[in-house]
């Protein structure tokens, strides 16, 4: 077994996340798919940190986690305020920049 398996698994999970973003209509589920993509990139970073023998990759994964946490907080607040005005969490309903 080589580290390739981790990288291929991360690539597959990234793709599943991307397909989910394209296919799903519920804004919250779309958000979860984005989280999955961020996570699989983290796995790639950690794997390459191990392969190259530096801790830098782990630090980058750490920063990705921080940014993802901040992004989730703001994104979910946006979804809530959209829901409050439009009574729907579907990405198709929010097709105007106003109202």
């Amino acid at each position: 077994m080589t580290l390739t398996y981790y990288l291929v698994l991360a690539a597959i999970l990234f793709t599943i996340g991307a397909v989910g973003v394209l296919v799903r209509r519920n804004a919250i589920v779309v958000f979860m798919c984005v989280e999955l993509m961020l996570n699989s990139v983290n796995l790639t970073l950690v794997t390459f940190a191990r392969a190259t023998g530096t801790v830098d990759g782990q630090i980058m994964a750490f920063f990705v986690m921080v940014v993802a946490a901040a992004e989730v907080v703001v994104g979910l607040a946006i979804i809530m305020s959209i829901y409050r005005t439009r009574r729907s969490a579907s990405v198709d309903d929010a097709n105007l920049l106003k109202y």
């Binding site: 394209l22 979860m32 630090i59 579907s90």
Partner: protein, 270 residues
């Protein structure tokens, strides 16, 4: 110095890899958004274990605490507030979009996966022993974080404060001062406009279960429709045969050993 990957790690990968994959697929394919969230928790826990066995125990712990502990709970909170019963519509806005997205996804995964597999199949694994210089993982990360990455670390604090303020601004409901109704006005409105001034009965009350799916029982033995939660399939509890008179064994008097002071039907006491 190169590192060899042991058999234990192989076993862990082949057990948790399919679990992570199943979690991701389940998240995309479940109709219910709450199920999606639970599938994603599954995947994230598997990722936490992957970090630990790849020499990043700190990231593994952070993954479990921050992602599955904080972020997914936040997701579930918003789901309960917003979209729990607004399940996904099956209607395609763009015709053929789903098929196109799936084909695109399979193609992308094959391309990137094959490219990565070919490029890294002979990649030497250096391992983290030299980089950590005899230290353990957390001191090594701390040393790098507070020297080379200090600026990025400090900027992170600005990002987090901005995110907190942004969430508060977006989730805040603007009300004119004085427009908030007092408790007296609220209770008056409730008594004047509704025929049910009291609270709704709780589910499971006087039934033989305390599940939220079990309706409360009315004094006549029927189900109370008002006690049913929205969005949950009501469940039929198995009922004990209801006692019909005071003389039956189930009556409190019989249980306490006290006799009924005055039998209702005037019959003989047992």
């Amino acid at each position: 110095m190169t590192e060899t990957l042991g058999g234990g790690e192989t076993v862990v990968f082949w057990v948790l890899g399919p679990i992570a994959l199943a979690g991701a697929l389940g998240m995309v394919f479940s109709r219910n958004a709450v199920h999606s969230a639970l599938w994603l928790v599954n995947t994230m826990l598997a990722f936490g274990v992957f970090y630990v066995i790849q020499g990043a125990p700190f990231l593994g712990a952070v993954q479990i605490i921050v992602y599955t502990g904080a972020i997914m709970i936040l997701f579930l909170f918003v789901l309960m507030l917003v979209g729990r019963d607004s399940s996904d519509s099956v209607v395609e806005t763009l015709r053929g979009q789903r098929v196109a997205a799936t084909i695109l996804g399979v193609g992308f995964a094959a391309l990137v996966g094959a490219g990565i597999a070919r490029a890294t199949q002979d990649m030497p694994v250096t391992g983290l022993q030299d980089a950590q210089g005899g230290q353990r993982n957390i001191p090594a990360i701390a040393e790098l974080l507070f020297t080379d990455y200090l600026l990025a670390f400090e900027v992170t604090s600005a990002l987090l404060i901005t995110a907190a303020v942004g969430a508060m601004v977006l989730a805040h409901i603007e009300r004119d001062p004085g427009s908030r109704q007092t408790q007296k006005e609220l209770s008056r409105a409730r008594f004047l406009t509704s025929d049910r001034p009291q609270t709704l009965p709780g589910p499971g009350v006087f039934a033989r279960a305390n599940s939220v799916a079990v309706p409360a029982i009315l004094p006549d033995g029927g189900r109370s429709e008002a006690s049913l939660a929205t969005g949950i399939e009501p469940e039929e509890p198995d009922q004990m045969p209801r006692p019909t008179g005071r003389e039956q064994l189930g009556s409190p008097d019989a249980a306490l050993g006290t006799l009924d002071p005055a039998p209702l039907d005037g019959g003989t006491q047992r």
